[in-house]
């Protein structure tokens, strides 16, 4: 995809943020971040706890105001007026960590409708969006009428994500969406996000600890360390820097690690292998007398 020719949907200019400024608890969470996201991109943000990634994403929809620096959504500076941050929130949907703890309504339907209602839409439009969002996260009509507190953990998480998707944001940001889910729940949830990405052509930014998750779908990976983006590139480019990642307390996906070792042993493998499926397919291809370098 030739993303460089298009206008970025999100652009940040040297944003800085310090928590509890002027007290003994002062902590510089962001020390100058330049970032761009283009329409339709799938971006993974990785970094250790405290590297500033959660603080960073809260700047992208105007929840936090940077100490210095600018944030543009669709070319508009989101702090140029008082109303602008709220408008940005409808364009940039942000799903927090453990979003199921934000559910409050009597029924799942009403909860998903909270966002669209705040946008001032009419009832038919709200209904359409709620059902569409529920479909994206695989919640059936029977569940929509139930109390969110009667659902299972995974269903509750998906209902909360639907609450953000229902606003039809052009950019969907998720902070560790799979934390605490079982492997099946995790795969289902990631598939739901992929569906929204594919069908709506939305930009997806996913914050994660898991290299596997970042490698799975992301076209670009940004690595945060000490409040800065220290690496920014395709998964191939980023995971090539295994030593640098390890120095930051991060790793590379296990499959990529195995592939590197196998390559060192002389097995001809292509260099964009990060998932178990990738390596399995490549090895089967070699076993069948093919070339492991072809994708």
């Amino acid at each position: 995809m030739s993303v460089q020719t298009r206008e970025p949907i999100i652009r940040t200019e040297n944003i800085k943020h310090t928590y509890s400024s002027g007290t003994p608890f002062e902590f510089a969470a962001l020390r100058g971040v330049d970032f761009e996201a283009y329409p339709g991109e799938y971006i993974g943000i990785i970094g250790r706890t405290g590297s500033g990634k959660s603080t960073f994403i809260q700047h992208l929809n105007g929840l936090l105001k940077p100490e210095s620096g600018k944030i543009f959504v669709g070319g508009i500076d989101i702090h140029s007026s008082k109303e602008e941050p709220r408008r940005a929130r409808f364009r940039v949907g942000l799903v927090f960590q453990f979003p199921e703890y934000q559910l409050f309504e009597e029924t799942v339907y009403k909860d998903i409708a909270f966002g669209p209602k705040n946008m001032g839409l009419n009832d038919t439009e709200i209904d359409e969006r709620v059902r569409e969002a529920a479909r994206f996260v695989n919640l059936g009509d029977d569940i929509l009428e139930r109390s969110p507190f009667d659902l299972s953990g995974g269903q509750r998480r998906r209902a909360a994500i639907a609450g953000v998707i229902a606003m039809r944001p052009e950019v969907l940001i998720l902070d560790e969406p799979t934390a605490g889910l079982d492997p099946q729940g995790r795969d289902e949830l990631l598939a739901n996000i992929d569906a929204y990405h594919g069908e709506r052509g939305a930009t997806v930014i996913i914050v994660t600890h898991s290299m596997e998750e970042a490698a799975r779908r992301a076209e670009r990976i940004c690595v945060f360390s000490n409040g800065k983006i220290v690496m920014n590139g395709t998964p191939t480019e980023v995971f090539r820097e295994g030593d640098a990642l390890a120095a930051m307390g991060l790793g590379v996906p296990k499959a990529a690690l195995i592939a590197t070792r196998l390559r060192a042993l002389g097995v001809p493998l292509r260099d964009d292998i990060y998932t178990t499926e990738d390596i399995k397919d490549a090895l089967i291809a070699i076993k069948n007398g093919g070339d492991g370098r072809a994708s």
């Binding site: 509890s20 002027g22 003994p24 929130r89 703890y101 934000q102 909270f114 966002g115 705040n118």
Partner: protein, 266 residues
């Protein structure tokens, strides 16, 4: 932001004031309050102000921090001052309809303001320099004699320390939930009072649910570590009075004496 609230927060440090025994600090706070209410003339107020500044200086708490916490209760101070100004009988300075400002009223308002500012700054110094755990330990130790009349001292102290411990957690949680609902376009800053009250529901419901969940988890965690109240419980950190504590208490007694003396002078 909510997390910038400094009311009753603890600022870690290693000054003499920080290292005093919590019991000493609690007693000193009571002494300070008593002395403040005994103060009548300007001289004694000036003396109390000096005491306060001395304590602030010794604890290395920034004046800015104290000013910030005063800002939070500015309304109470202003309200008290206005009430005193209008409703004290005496020589009339200014009259408008049934409202009149008296000379005594103005003096009273000024004194009340000084008294409140000194009172609040001084008592906040206690929580600024004492960790919540030390504070409840101190309270428990001071209330210990009440055990004889079967007053549940340990339980009270435990409840206090849990409550204090949960304050920052709940503030953080509220912050998080507010951010999450704002991200869905919740508008809490504009509209009528009714509208704003309604806008609190999406915050309060998740907050209550999570508070109950936390309480439940904490109870289970305590039970699984065999917590069974204060009976036969020993402490990791035992309180001990040092020379500096006795000196501080002597200074406290001295301060009261000075105030009594100053009242006689002016």
């Amino acid at each position: 932001m909510l997390r910038d609230i400094t009311l009753g927060q603890y600022f870690p440090g290693n000054t003499v004031v920080h290292r005093l025994d919590p019991r000493t600090k609690l007693i000193m706070t009571v002494v300070y309050i008593v002395a403040l209410f005994m103060a009548k003339g300007w001289l004694s107020y000036a003396f109390m102000a000096c005491v306060l500044f001395g304590m602030i200086f010794a604890s290395k708490i920034k004046l800015k921090t104290i000013a910030k916490s005063l800002k939070a209760i500015a309304i109470v101070i202003v309200f008290t001052a206005i009430l005193n100004m209008f409703f004290t009988q005496g020589e009339v300075l200014f009259k408008l309809w049934i409202l009149k400002i008296t000379r005594e009223g103005v003096l009273m308002a000024v004194k009340m303001t000084i008294r409140l500012v000194l009172l609040i700054s001084g008592t906040f110094l206690l929580t600024y320099t004492t960790s919540p755990i030390a504070l409840t330990d101190g309270i428990e130790a001071l209330l210990n004699p009440l055990k004889k009349i079967r007053f549940p001292v340990h339980e009270l102290a435990m409840m206090m320390s849990i409550a204090l411990r949960m304050v920052p957690t709940l503030i953080e949680e509220t912050d998080k939930i507010m951010s999450a609902q704002k991200a869905r376009g919740a508008d809490m800053e504009t509209g009528s009072i009714l509208h704003r009250a309604r806008a609190l529901i999406p915050i309060l419901v998740p907050l209550f649910i999570s508070a109950f969940r936390r309480a439940d988890e904490l109870a289970e965690a305590m039970e699984s570590r065999c917590y069974h109240g204060g009976q036969g419980r020993t402490r990791m950190k035992t309180l001990g009075m040092k020379a500096r504590d006795y000196i501080a208490l002597l200074c406290g007694a001295g301060a009261i004496a000075v105030v009594v003396f100053a009242n006689l002078l002016l």
